[in-house]
């Protein structure tokens, strides 16, 4: 037994070393600049650097729009699959796993091709205005469309797990026989029971959008992750400082979520 414990702590220790050293070294890198000694300039500069606020704001707006759209599309569909239409369930499952087969870089190559149709073939049709509008650099809606597709597998898994844990049909029937309308039954009986799953899906989507680089960079927009890379050429310390902060913030958010999810699971069981 003692030998077993030694083995386990050895494995955990090595893993801890491998996973924590880059984080610790990054922090050291940002505060211990060669030739300057100990300095916190990298962190104090973050907020005054050009592009930080606007790119972060853009990322947050994109994230909110993505979360709203993906939940609006997925929640009614998933609940409906539980209530009836079980024949459509495999269809939805396949549709939601398809993005896993198409890597983001291949997906963005396809999106770029479609976007080029606008100027090439559609310039005299009203559709052209739509193409221009979704590529508005202030709020590129085309990114929201892409992110919703990329979030589908995560959201599907999260909602499926949540719906599995509750008896949707009984809930809806109970609400209906108490005189609730369909929207009321959905909003006041089903959704509160899905709170954990909805939060889970939202946070995963948030983390996905905040960290997304491939699609945004290749379509020529500048949300947060693209900004970090662009700024790294001139200000290495700053870009690492922002990277460390964004990793830590995502981590804390998901830890909070895990704690929350754990609690809701135990209360619903008890």
């Amino acid at each position: 037994m003692a030998r077993l414990n030694l083995w386990r702590w050895g494995v955990l220790g090595l893993a801890g070393l491998y996973f924590l050293v880059p984080l610790a070294a990054s922090v050291v890198f940002t505060v211990d600049v060669p030739g300057q000694g100990l300095t916190f300039d990298a962190y104090t500069q973050i907020f005054s650097t050009e592009g930080f606020a606007s790119s972060l704001l853009l990322s947050l707006e994109l994230a909110l729009a993505t979360i709203a759209l993906v939940l609006l599309l997925m929640v009614p569909a998933m609940v409906a699959l539980r209530l009836g239409a079980p024949r459509l369930r495999p269809v939805v499952e396949v549709v939601c796993s398809l993005p896993l087969v198409v890597p983001p870089i291949a997906f963005v190559a396809g999106i770029g091709t479609v976007l080029k149709w606008g100027p090439e073939h559609l310039s005299r049709t009203p559709l052209f205005q739509t193409f221009v509008a979704i590529q508005n650099p202030d709020f590129p809606f085309v990114l929201v469309l892409a992110y919703v597709v990329m979030a589908l597998p995560f959201v599907h898994r999260a909602l499926d797990a949540g719906l599995r844990a509750i008896d949707v049909r009984t809930l809806v029937e109970a609400a209906r026989s108490c005189g609730a309308s369909w929207p009321q039954a959905l909003a006041q009986a089903v959704l509160p029971n899905l709170r954990g799953a909805l939060l889970n899906a939202s946070f995963l989507t948030l983390a996905l959008v905040l960290g997304e680089f491939t699609v945004a960079q290749l379509l020529g927009f500048q949300p947060f992750a693209v900004w970090i890379v662009n700024v790294s050429g001139s200000q290495a310390q700053l870009s690492v400082a922002v990277s460390v902060l964004s990793l830590l913030v995502t981590w804390v958010l998901l830890l909070v979520l895990a704690g929350f999810g754990g609690r809701t699971r135990t209360t619903s069981r008890g």
């Binding site: 494995v11 491998y18 896993l100 890597p103 396809g110 754990g262």
Partner: protein
């Protein structure tokens, strides 16, 4: 009395069922229409573009397999093979290193440790990308903290190389393996170990004849999943190495943005199609393996 009650009950029940079914289909329609537009359209455009050849002198377009042939030659083939090699090596290492870590976590007596490791794995497995690349550049890059303090450059260390990328990729592949294999390790029943011990088996024999055969589908499935994840990765490599290691994702990005040669967009689409085929193959291997491993977890 009972007869009427039954009749009154069944008629609306059938109507409700019918209404429910149409309502169900109606709620799924927006999702299907959306994916057809936002996902189907780009996918079709990619397929169409991959087979379209544009004559530079006349501007006329025709369908042919020239792009696909070009995407499997020269620098593009090197990049494709480079990606496959990098993904295979890092996936194999990730699977081998993830298994003992997951076992250490599963057999631990501290639930907090387990929760922390699994949550951390969830974060690291999915959301590495750019921050991950910069963390490693700051640690082991040319001006990195460890590189400077340990004088690693003189010892031949170079982060912007094949093995440097493997080291970085493991940072999100090992957590992915831990997430994949933990449910299977949880499914190993203690009775099996006890039964093996009662029959006089040593620990090595137990793993060799009982645990590993049960885990094998999950292990292989995990390897395939890791391969696909490493194969599709772009942000980390782009932020880190530029193009010092030939990778198919970097080639596609270069061809799309016209960095190297102008007019290579359709070859980029053909390369994307190559990637989709490899990723599809990965899923075709992964799904049956996952179904097989799920049998033991019931």
């Amino acid at each position: 009395m009972t007869a009427t009650a039954v009749r009154v009950d069944t008629a609306p029940a059938a109507a409700v069922k019918r209404r429910r079914r149409s309502l169900g289909s109606l709620a799924v329609v927006p999702l299907l229409v959306f994916t057809a537009l936002a996902f189907g359209l780009p996918a079709l455009a990619m397929l169409d573009g991959a087979f379209t050849v544009k004559d530079p002198s006349t501007g006329a377009t025709s369908y042919s397999a020239d792009n696909l042939t070009a995407s499997l030659q020269g620098a593009y083939l090197t990049a494709l093979l480079g990606s496959v090699k990098l993904s295979a090596v890092s996936a194999a290492l990730g699977a081998l290193l993830g298994l003992p870590l997951a076992q250490a976590v599963v057999t631990s007596r501290f639930p907090a440790l387990r929760e922390a490791v699994l949550t951390a794995s969830g974060v690291l497995a999915n959301f590495g990308g750019v921050p991950l690349a910069f963390a490693f550049v700051a640690t082991l890059g040319n001006a990195g903290v460890l590189t400077r303090h340990l004088g690693l450059t003189d010892k031949g260390w170079d982060l912007y190389s094949f093995w440097g990328l493997v080291l970085v990729y493991l940072y999100f592949l090992i957590p992915l393996m831990v997430l994949t294999i933990t449910p299977a390790l949880d499914g190993l029943r203690s009775q099996w170990r006890e039964a093996a011990q009662n029959n006089g088996a040593t620990t090595v024999q137990y793993w060799r004849h009982v645990a590993l055969p049960v885990l094998l589908p999950t292990l292989l499935g995990g390897f395939v999943l890791l391969f696909g994840s490493a194969f599709a990765a772009y942000a980390t490599a782009a932020a880190m190495v530029g193009s010092s290691v030939p990778l198919v994702t970097l080639q596609i990005a270069d061809a799309l943005s016209g960095n190297v040669l102008v007019g290579q967009e359709n070859v980029a689409l053909a390369l994307s199609l190559d990637m989709v085929l490899v990723a599809g193959l990965v899923m075709a291997v992964y799904l049956p393996l996952q179904r097989r491993s799920a049998r033991w977890l019931a």
